[in-house]
């Protein structure tokens, strides 16, 4: 029996038992459904083994939405618990697990795949490429991320969730103070997902450097592609730090080393240091693609070219470098003295300058434009004021002496939510709505979309502005309850109300998708938004091979030139197109990674060793494999193009 004890939940509650049953039933329902409708083959052929960047993008998107609701459920529970003083809805342990998983899920398993979804889908189309540079590696990236996410998510029904905060500071996260396997899940699930992210980073840098359409020099790339390039550069240099930190944390927990423990020379501060060396660039990994999306959307619906293209690019390059120079501001209060704090205080505030440039460039893009307020545009316009407030409070936090008062309070929580929600969530919904017709061939409902926006925008303000006040009044973050005499009650009640508005907003997104699938028109043409860049120059939805003929461009707005200046995008006859073949190896290898991770979490060494051998066997198989893909013949291309209503010649 002892063997099975480790899988038990340390702090069970009816809610968790209910979730177990729900998960079990869902899995059975999915398996039964697939079998009944005989969809196993379809699933395997079209999705599990696909190497197509568009399908991988869509799978990222589904995972991100799923995780948005998982993290959102956590958020609602937290706000509900805090809505009144001395509430007993959740106990301390449960609350601790919830805010930990909320943070991890939202950052690593919601925001990251959302970005990956849009990058995967859009970047190759925007640069006129057939696919990414390494399609199979791309599939592996996705499946590693997916398995990492699943591994993390089973934690609350098997063995217990991590409960040391998403920052997981040692020694609290060490063996002595955190006895359940929760933190093992944290270390290993994030590690697996992080490997996938690192590979994506390499993949997209090469894609963007080497696979652009003829004529598209670096300074003629659409702004979203630029932001994707910069983001991936940050990924490549930031994620190895996380890899090392997590590996050291894993060794402390599983092999009894003393990196971060407090005995035999271990140093708890080092974990905080390494975590934030990765953690701060991670913030910019999240925000830069959003900046790219806003640049696309604002320029498209102001019907004008992007103002200050060069300074936009320049500011992103500067941000990418500076993002590695500021991490100490996350622990100004650790006691490293006035000099160190001063250095990092200045670098922190300096980042506001390039960010400010971008805000003003968007504002000037509106200047002399012809602004159409569509749903994506609405999010972009809502982003500017809310993000400005989030951003300027960031400058305030950068004043290190004053930070002694903000640190670890609700003020900080308000700041980063007011940056991340408009900066990432708004952008992702804007991007989703904007590119949805490209993905699925129909548009999302405009009216529901606008209602959604107002719920989300107002919800964000109502949920997070009160935290500035309660933070300055001394409410620390991560407190599961507070007494009535503190006077925090009113502010937290307001926040709870805002959280409900947000929840309604997110539910409306799902309703919108359902509604639009049923009722939206499928006859929308290839360019329903009257947009400017190359992804709108191919069909809706996009054929397997993206472009029948490689486009040639002469500016960052290829399609606009074609529409307004008579520039010819597609020259020359059809040619055979080389395609990579599908492969089951990425999926199988990631599944083995899942087993490996699970075995490591529960210290089942034999299983771990066997699965590790399995992983290496997959790599060896890849080394010896000879796979040259296949070709789509000219005839086939002609047929497909004709089906889409007229060839593009």
């Amino acid at each position: 029996m002892e063997f099975f004890d480790r899988f038990a939940i340390p702090h069970p509650s009816p809610l968790i038992y209910a979730s177990m049953v729900a998960i079990g039933l869902t899995v059975i329902a999915i398996i039964a459904g697939l079998t009944y409708f005989k969809k196993w083959g379809y699933l395997w052929r079209e999705w599990l083994t696909t190497v197509d960047h568009k399908r991988i993008g869509i799978m990222y998107l589904l995972s991100a939405l799923l995780m948005l609701f998982r993290g959102g459920a956590d958020a609602i529970m937290m706000r509900a618990q805090l809505s009144v003083p001395e509430n007993t809805l959740l106990d301390a342990q449960h609350y601790n697990e919830i805010f930990t998983t909320h943070g991890v899920v939202m950052i690593i398993f919601m925001a990251m795949p959302f970005i990956m979804a849009l990058m995967n889908f859009v970047v190759p189309l925007q640069i006129g490429a057939r696919d990414v540079a390494f399609p199979r590696l791309n599939a592996l990236s996705f499946w590693l991320f997916f398995m990492g996410a699943m591994l993390f998510n089973i934690s609350f029904v098997i063995g217990g969730s991590p409960d040391a905060g998403w920052t997981s500071y040692f020694p609290l996260a060490g063996n002595e103070l955190s006895t359940s396997v929760g933190t093992n899940y944290y270390m290993i699930a994030i590690q697996i997902a992080g490997l996938g992210t690192l590979m994506t980073g390499i993949n997209f840098i090469v894609t963007i450097f080497k696979m652009r359409a003829p004529g598209m020099t670096l300074m003629k790339m659409p702004m979203f592609t630029w932001s994707a390039l910069i983001t991936n550069i940050i990924i490549v240099f930031a994620f190895p730090v996380l890899t090392v930190a997590l590996a050291m944390g894993t060794m402390d927990r599983l092999f009894g080393t003393h990196f971060f423990a407090t005995t035999n020379g271990g140093m708890d501060m080092l974990w905080a240091n390494l975590f934030w060396v990765w953690g701060h660039p991670e913030v910019y990994i999240l925000i830069l693609p959003a900046f790219g999306i806003y640049s696309e959307v604002i320029s498209a619906f102001a019907r004008r070219n992007l103002y200050g293209y060069k300074s936009m690019v320049g500011s992103m390059v500067i941000i990418s470098l500076l993002s590695f120079f500021v991490w100490v501001h996350h622990f100004f209060t650790m006691g490293q003295g006035a000099l160190t704090n001063s250095i990092f205080s200045i670098t922190t505030m300096a980042i506001a300058v390039p960010t400010g440039i971008k805000i003003f460039n968007w504002l000037f893009t509106l200047w002399k434009g012809k602004i159409e307020v569509t749903v994506p545009m609405l999010y972009s316009l809502g982003f500017i004021p809310i993000f400005t407030i989030g951003g300027v409070t960031g400058v305030m936090l950068g004043m290190s002496a004053a930070d002694y008062q903000y640190h670890n309070t609700m003020f900080l929580v308000a700041h980063f939510h007011l940056v991340i929600i408009p900066g990432v969530v708004f952008a992702m919904i804007a991007g989703l709505t904007y590119w949805w017709p490209k993905m699925f061939g129909f548009m999302l409902n405009e009216r529901i979309g606008k209602w959604t926006f107002w719920f989300i925008a107002i919800g964000t303000c109502v949920a997070f502005f009160p935290m500035f006040i309660s933070g300055l009044d001394g409410q620390a973050r991560r407190m599961y309850t507070y007494s009535e005499s503190t006077g925090f009650g009113i502010w937290n009640m307001l926040s709870f109300f805002g959280a409900i508005l947000l929840a309604i907003g997110f539910a409306l997104i799902v309703y919108n998708i359902y509604y639009s699938i049923r009722y939206a028109s499928r006859d929308i043409g290839d360019d329903p938004w009257n947009a400017r860049s190359l992804e709108w120059a191919t069909h809706n939805p996009v054929p397997d091979y993206n472009f029948a003929i490689t486009p040639e461009v002469s500016s960052s707005e290829g399609l606009w030139d074609a529409k307004k200046r008579g520039h010819t995008l597609f020259k020359g006859p059809y040619k055979e197109i080389h395609m990579p073949s599908n492969s089951g190896v990425p999926f199988i290898m990631s599944a083995i990674f899942f087993v490996f991770g699970f075995a490591m979490i529960f210290s089942m060494w034999i299983v771990a060793i066997i699965s590790a051998i399995g992983i290496f066997a997959c790599m060896a198989h890849r080394s010896f494999e000879q796979d040259h893909g296949y070709h789509i013949s000219v005839d086939e291309i002609k047929q497909t193009e004709a089906k889409f209503g007229g060839a593009k010649e």
Binding site: L172, R303, A401, Q405, D473
Partner: protein
Amino acid sequence: MKLKWAFLSLSFFVVTLLSGCNLLVLDPKGPQAERQAHDIILSASIMLFIVITVFSLLIYMLIKYRASKQSEDYEPPYIEGNKWVESIVIGIPVLIIVVLSIVSVRSNYIVESAPEGYEEEPLVVYASSSDWKWHFSYPEQDIETVNYLYIPTNRPLEFKLYSHGSITSFWIPQLGGQKYAMSDMVTTLHLAADEPGEYMGRNANFNGKGFAENTFNVKAMPQADFEDWVEEVKETAEPITEDKFQELLEPGHLGQLTFNGTHLEFSPAPEGENGGHQHGNSEHDKNQHSSEEASEH
């Protein structure tokens, strides 16, 4: 649309208005907290200027350049960017950042050193945290309290912070900002109280199940009252013993306790020779010691 911006600006004004009221951080009772409140108000005002600029520009653009306000056949022009506009957009933020940097650096040195203008030597208090309590040792008075802190007004206070477990953060909002307490080194926080009164103090850094209740009371009183209190403790309190102290360290919550003597005698703080990571008698850690000792000043 306009409604929303009205709402946004309103809520921000509400925030700033409230700042003037009695929020703990903005109601300082000591020089360090005052400096920090000053920085907060200063930076908030400058930031408010930026926010207003951005909001006005946005509202202007939206009112003037809506498609519904333009003629059907209006074609927006192609505008590359403008040197002057961009230099203003870069220049003003740079100036603001320079100003704030100067303020920030000066404040750092002020907050990190003993408050000036007091005649007496600082009162040294060792504040150490354990799950989920605070132990305050007064080596000068040779007494110790748990979960409450009596301090004299108008005398600099030098808190020596460390932890018996996970990282915690010692915070008395009305006297000044927080600093971490960690298990293998001692950090120093300089504070002072100018007015007698009762203040809230707490651990601000998450440290597990009992975190929410990990608070302590601070009572500032004139020097004479403080001395009376010390006298009283010396006469009435039990002495602290090693066994008793080990009992106190057990995870859990305790009320307010008072002892004669300090635990530092038998369980010294992790500084100097006793740095938590320096068990044993190796000769190679001399550098480490000196750096630890230096960090106290």
